[in-house]
């Protein structure tokens, strides 16, 4: 039971950054901009969010009395920094009509390098890891519960390793679903990703819609980056270890739809968690191999590939993604 609780909680912890990253990619691509810079934006969000947590007001009285409020502020900082950084992609891709993959790649290379440079100059030379403070886990006390009254499995599953980013990302998921499918804005955004010329002909400002899509994407990816930083442990190297690219894959896996993306993120994360705990899970066979956990680490990727091969017929990318809007083609 205990190991089961740990598996569930770790699955959720690893799924959150993927979910946020994939939703970020969805907003951008639904507006017609390929956001391959997710990785870089996540690094940026994680960098500033983590720096805010440690250097900001963590030592202040506010942090002592309301730690979760400080975490909430850090989430805002991460989202805002990601959003601002993503505007660089928007500027190149929308205003200057540059190749979106190229400018995205540039942002991907810049972010981790800048993160290390900044960490070097802000913290000290040779140390680039940011030490995250303790006490940012959601503890039972903030819900007015006492530890003694909670069953042990529930404690391990919910209160030992989940952060404020978890409920916030669930809220974000629901809001993004409503925004995308139930509002005028969502319809317009999707129109810009499918047929911007038609959208323009009925009076929608394609440029503004695309900027908005990219900015929302940056905010979500920035928060995703901070979620990764908090999930990854107390010593955070400013890097998200390829999670931005994985989020891109989860987005395609989820067919550019919010709840399918949630499923994809959980699915991927479950296998990743099993791989991480492969050494301790006694029921997994070892096939007589040394270090068999490496075999289980390949599983999430290979299974995703197989699933993709079977579901590819239904896959539908936004039609106009990657193509700069040219009003002359109307």
């Amino acid at each position: 039971m205990d190991i089961f609780s740990i598996l569930v909680s770790k699955t959720i912890v690893y799924a959150i950054p993927l979910l946020l990253g994939a939703l970020a990619g969805m907003f951008s691509e639904r507006s017609g901009i390929i956001n391959i810079a997710l990785e870089g934006i996540m690094v940026f969000g994680s960098l500033f969010g983590a720096l805010f947590l440690t250097r900001g007001i963590m030592d202040s009285a506010l942090a002592a009395s309301h730690p979760q409020f400080v975490v909430f502020l850090a989430i805002l900082v991460a989202g805002l920094s990601g959003g601002i950084y993503s505007l660089l992609l928007g500027f190149a891709a929308i205003k200057l009509k540059a190749n979106q993959v190229i400018s995205g790649t540039a942002l991907n290379i810049f972010a981790p390098a800048f993160a290390i440079l900044l960490a070097y100059s802000v913290i000290s030379l040779g140390v680039s890891s940011i030490r995250l403070p303790r006490g940012i886990v959601m503890s039972p006390e903030i819900f007015g519960l006492e530890i003694a009254n909670i069953p042990r499995w529930l404690y391990t599953m919910v209160f030992s390793s989940l952060y404020l980013t978890t409920p916030i990302s669930i809220i974000i998921l629901i809001i993004s679903f409503i925004t995308l499918y139930k509002t005028k804005f969502g319809l317009r955004l999707r129109a810009c990703g499918e047929h911007p010329q038609a959208a323009d002909s009925v009076g929608i400002n394609v440029t503004r819609m695309r900027y908005t899509g990219v900015f929302i994407s940056g905010i979500l990816a920035g928060i995703g980056g901070l979620a990764f930083a908090m999930a990854n442990g107390s010593n955070h190297e400013p890097d998200v270890l390829g999670y931005g690219f994985l989020a891109l894959a989860v987005m395609i896996f989820g067919n550019w739809k919010p709840f399918k993306i949630l499923f994809g993120a959980l699915f991927f994360s479950l296998f990743k968690t099993i791989a991480v705990f492969a050494a301790t899970l006694s029921f997994l066979p070892s096939f007589g191999l040394n270090k068999v956990d490496n075999l289980y680490k390949t599983l999430p990727y290979i299974i995703t590939l197989i699933v993709l091969a079977f579901t590819s017929k239904k896959s539908r990318a936004p039609k106009a993604e990657g193509i700069p809007y040219d009003p002359g083609q109307r």
């Binding site: 190149a92 800048f114 390829g242």
Partner: protein
């Protein structure tokens, strides 16, 4: 008169193509300059953020960055040592770009190529050329999978190659752990080629001893030859034409009778082989050993900027990879002052600006053209005026003559 004008026009259209190339080169140079300037600016800004600001530090850093590579034969030869794998991974990415495919999986193919080159060298005691061949085969086999998925299931090659990067990394680790003959000294590091199989090390013709380094080998020559070969394939063969047609419009080329599915598969096969060869060139140099990795190797990703800066042209890739090799070698010069990552910052800014430098180039071209058109209109008007003057003069002369004759 008319004939002369016609000739003038035709020569100007011929020059147009050359001018386009000139602009591409100009915009590349422009973005490189902007990249370096932004990096310098960033150094000063970071100095503001630092606890103890010392503004002589960035200046010293800049000076060190540009002089470091010329301080010793090791740092200088490292330019080409770095450039060889950069060129090959750049070719891998650029070749796939030509067919409209984004091979972001070069790092997985590179890892596979590197691993099997080492397997051939240590387990099978193969000579260097055989190990290199195996690295090509291994990279190609890992690279063809995204091609197959793209051709048969129409799955975006970006997602499959990202998945295969990680799967390949862990698979290589698993194989490594289960081949104990490869790592008898350290558990996480393959045995040094110098002690186990010296004939698997790429030949250097004794140059390393003369120049007192260990970074000279024939890797760079192999890479340049491969680049020329790829150029010939792309520009002078039917297959190359099909690749480029497939890249510019897949449906149109299918309609024209090109087998786009097999073109995609072959392109990814070759692209993967190139990335695998890069792995072989690095790990058979005798300077590094294969180690168990927990993160993707950066070299495969570094091929992307090389290809982008060169607009995927194989011959330009030779130049850009040597330039980036220089930047990477210089990056070590900053040790103690700044981190090695300065190179990545410069590189990313260059790529960011190169993405729209071509557009700026086109803008310059347009304004120049407008200017030229205006001038040519003026010229024509002048010509007409001249003509009229001449005609008037001639007629006057004739009249005069006539008058003279009359007289």
């Amino acid at each position: 008169m008319f004939d002369f004008k016609f000739l003038k026009k035709s020569t100007s259209t011929e020059q147009k193509g050359e001018k386009d190339k000139e602009y591409a080169f100009l915009s590349a140079v422009l973005s490189i300059i902007v990249g370096l300037l932004v990096a310098v600016l960033l150094l000063f800004v970071l100095e503001f953020a630092a606890a103890e600001s010392d503004f002589s530090k960035p200046l010293l850093g800049i000076q060190k960055y540009f002089t470091y590579t010329f301080t010793s034969s090791t740092t200088f030869t490292k330019i080409f040592y770095n450039a060889a794998p950069l060129m090959l991974t750049g070719l891998a990415v650029g070749f796939a770009f030509k067919a409209g495919l984004f091979n972001i999986g070069a790092t997985g193919q590179y890892t596979f190529g590197a691993f099997f080159a080492i397997v051939a060298a240590i387990l099978w005691q193969a000579p260097w050329w055989a190990a290199l061949l195996l690295s090509i085969v291994a990279g190609a086999l890992w690279g063809v999978i995204p091609g197959l998925f793209k051709a048969f299931f129409n799955i975006n090659e970006v997602i499959t190659s990202i998945m295969l990067n990680w799967a390949g990394l862990y698979l290589a680790n698993l194989l490594f752990y289960n081949l104990p003959q490869m790592h008898t000294v350290l558990p996480n590091r393959s045995d040094s080629l110098r002690s186990v199989n010296p004939k698997a090390i790429l030949p250097d013709f004794g140059l390393n001893q003369i120049f007192n380094t260990s970074y000279i080998n024939i890797g760079i020559i192999i890479a340049i030859l491969v680049a020329i070969l790829i150029y010939i394939v792309l520009e002078k063969t039917v297959f190359g034409y099909e690749i480029k047609a497939c890249g510019s419009n897949r449906n149109a080329s299918l309609y024209a009778g090109i087998k786009t599915k097999s073109t995609i598969i072959y392109t990814m096969l070759i692209s993967g082989g190139l990335a695998g060869l890069a792995g072989g060139v690095v790990y058979l140099a005798g300077t590094v050993e294969f180690t168990v990795q927990s993160n993707l190797l950066a070299m495969g990703f570094n091929g992307i900027p090389v290809a982008l800066l060169a607009y995927s042209n194989p011959l330009s890739i030779i130049a850009t990879s040597i330039f980036i090799g220089f930047l990477e070698s210089s990056g070590s010069g900053l040790q103690g002052l700044y981190s090695y990552e300065m190179t990545s910052v410069i590189l990313s800014v260059i790529i960011y600006f190169s993405a729209f430098a071509l557009i700026v180039g086109h803008f310059i071209k347009k304004t120049l053209k407008r200017k030229r058109d205006k001038e040519s209109i003026l010229e024509e008007e002048n010509l007409i005026v001249d003509q009229n003057d001449n005609e008037i003069k001639q007629s006057e002369d004739e009249q005069l003559d006539e008058k003279g004759v009359v007289k």
